[in-house]
Symmetry: C2
Subunit: 363 residues, 2 copies
């Protein structure tokens, strides 16, 4: 296929070229038109790491397409509806979204399973499940009927268990605690008497300060320190509940279908790369911030939940998984797929990275 670039022509040639426009005018030209998409993200303006993932994706898409695919990003400051992303992309008000699948569990219960699961897979394991273990196909089964395509949108790595204003020394200390904790982890903690809630990122600090909530989990050192939570809730617990939180790109299916094949591939690859890149950026920022935390914020008290609490969480998790599997056949299929996959891949993780890290700790 030959193509001509008008913009680089000299003025004289432009006149002649303009004369040719009428001749060349044909539907084929539509294949080279500029596609302008609008993306709504759950995050506020210039939100670090999560917002970098959307910017990285849009920039790659624009450069690779030589400007033929332009994606405008609206933060929640603009669209005012952080948890409306699913509906806005479904309806076509926005062409794309960047959010997290488990935010939609109240609307479509089976969306719960495509972000991360308590006691579940770590990031490389979960990417293995998405791309080689049937995860993408199952996600299509859940999202397809809503006129949506869903893609991995960036991994935070293993998340911390959250910030607490008081130390959790027993199961008793969790009873009645109001905590921001979304997804399945919220349901698990509810079994232990916690009152879980979800709150948009921009309102978290105020909610904690005004005691609308007593505790919250957000991400980990990569993002938490700049939120300031440590000033009002200094007990920082290690993680169990979100071992590999994967964000989500949503695309309106009709918009996708209208893109020519090369732009579809450019968009697919830009999203995929931006997701991986965010995992690595999160790893990097977590390392940097954890080091900073130890030296600059020595008052933060890093804790692990007592065995009594961990055992109860594990049991509540197992019970809830059984309940979910009984709710509908697709939930059962997804949970079985994840459990089967983890069974194989975890043995490998244990004999490779874990055995390696263990051997270094000993030495």
């Amino acid at each position: 296929m030959m193509k001509f670039s008008i913009s680089a022509l000299k003025p004289k040639k432009l006149i002649a070229a303009a004369a040719c426009l009428a001749v060349l005018s044909s539907p084929a030209i539509a294949a080279d038109k500029v596609y302008k998409l609008k993306l709504a993200e759950t995050w506020g303006a210039n939100f670090p790491i999560f917002g970098d993932a959307t910017k990285n994706m849009a920039k790659m898409a624009e450069t690779m397409s030589n400007g033929r695919l332009q994606i405008r990003i609206d933060s929640s400051n603009k669209h005012k509806s952080p948890f409306g992303v699913f509906d806005m992309v479904r309806s076509g008000q926005y062409d794309m979204g960047h959010s997290a699948s488990y935010y939609w569990k109240g609307k479509v219960p089976n969306t719960l399973f495509f972000t991360t699961m308590p006691f579940g897979m770590i990031a490389p394991e979960q990417y293995g499940w998405f791309y080689h273990g049937g995860g993408m196909e199952l996600m299509e089964k859940v999202y397809g009927k809503f006129n949506l395509l869903s893609f991995p949108g960036g991994n935070t790595g293993n998340q911390m268990g959250g910030w607490f204003q008081t130390e959790i020394k027993s199961l008793e200390h969790l009873k009645g605690l109001k905590m921001r904790v979304p997804g399945f982890a919220g349901e698990v903690m509810a079994k232990l008497g916690v009152k879980p809630t979800n709150i948009p990122p921009g309102e978290l600090y105020t909610a904690l300060e005004r005691r609308t909530i007593d505790a919250l989990e957000w991400v980990g050192p990569s993002l938490d320190l700049r939120m300031g939570f440590h000033k009002i809730a200094p007990f920082y617990y290690t993680g169990w509940h979100e071992p590999s939180t994967e964000l989500q790109f949503l695309v309106n299916k009709k918009v996708w279908a209208k893109l020519p094949a090369d732009l579809q591939e450019i968009l697919r690859v830009a999203m995929r790369t931006a997701a991986y890149d965010m995992y690595i950026q999160s790893t990097h920022a977590s390392g940097e911030n954890w080091a900073k935390m130890q030296t600059e914020f020595p008052n933060i008290k890093v804790k692990t939940f007592p065995t009594e609490v961990m055992d109860a969480l594990r049991k509540a998790n197992d019970d809830l998984l059984a309940e979910k599997a009984a709710e509908n056949p697709l939930a059962k299929e997804i949970l079985k797929s994840q459990a089967d996959y983890m069974k194989n891949v975890r043995v490998w993780t244990e004999i490779s990275d874990k055995a390696y890290l263990d051997s270094l700790s000993v030495n």
Copy 2:
């Protein structure tokens, strides 16, 4: 910028369009010509996982560019020079290569540091170093003067310590052992009396069978089982020496400079994604094959080196790192950069994935 697609025009319009060609003919058209690049890979034809990475990269590049960037892949069966990739890309005989940086240590000593290091970073940590910790810039310092650009080319994950015909029960058992083990690990093992060598992948099985070598390390369960090593060397040791082996894409700098900006970005992103994708494919295949190994190949004896050997390896490694750092200022700079980066990021790995995996083992 407006563009016209000739190939989709109707015959009548094609004639008119042809008349316009003379008018439009200008250097700007060169920006839309088809670029055909040739890539030489170290691996044999249809080599699994490693070969999939080059095919995945080339396919993404071709689809995203709508056929304007075509990459022909020549395996070592074709070019007959598995370890000549560096020279062939440097000279322009090939435009690109797919290999591993540490294969060139005999030629350019500082290339050693860009694959993996014994007792070094695991995969997400090392990607963090490449993309956020100065690794890419240091790699440019090493490769730039040879008319080459080097990019991450796919990670195998943590590698196994290798296949041995006899059990290694003490340091004594390593003395005089002929082993295929490339990179820095070979030098470390040499300090313990091993005779290290590197052998092209296609000749490994025969070399082991004919006792040209007594032992070898290759990758891990993702690739080793189909090579058949277990039939003649059933002792399979856990890893210490290649915690995150990253392959390498090489690009001739002059070829890169001739690509228009959109194709440069398409190539950069295709290589980056193919590298990440290979890490995930390796994770997946390792899990699958490890499970298969336990059931289908029960005669394989999985072992860990005794403490005496591990301690000696660690000490030899530390001594060698000090020697390398003294050799030239750039080696010192690279090793310091890696050590500093690992110091921060490893603490995070330990409090996140490792603490999480530990807590599950206990429960």
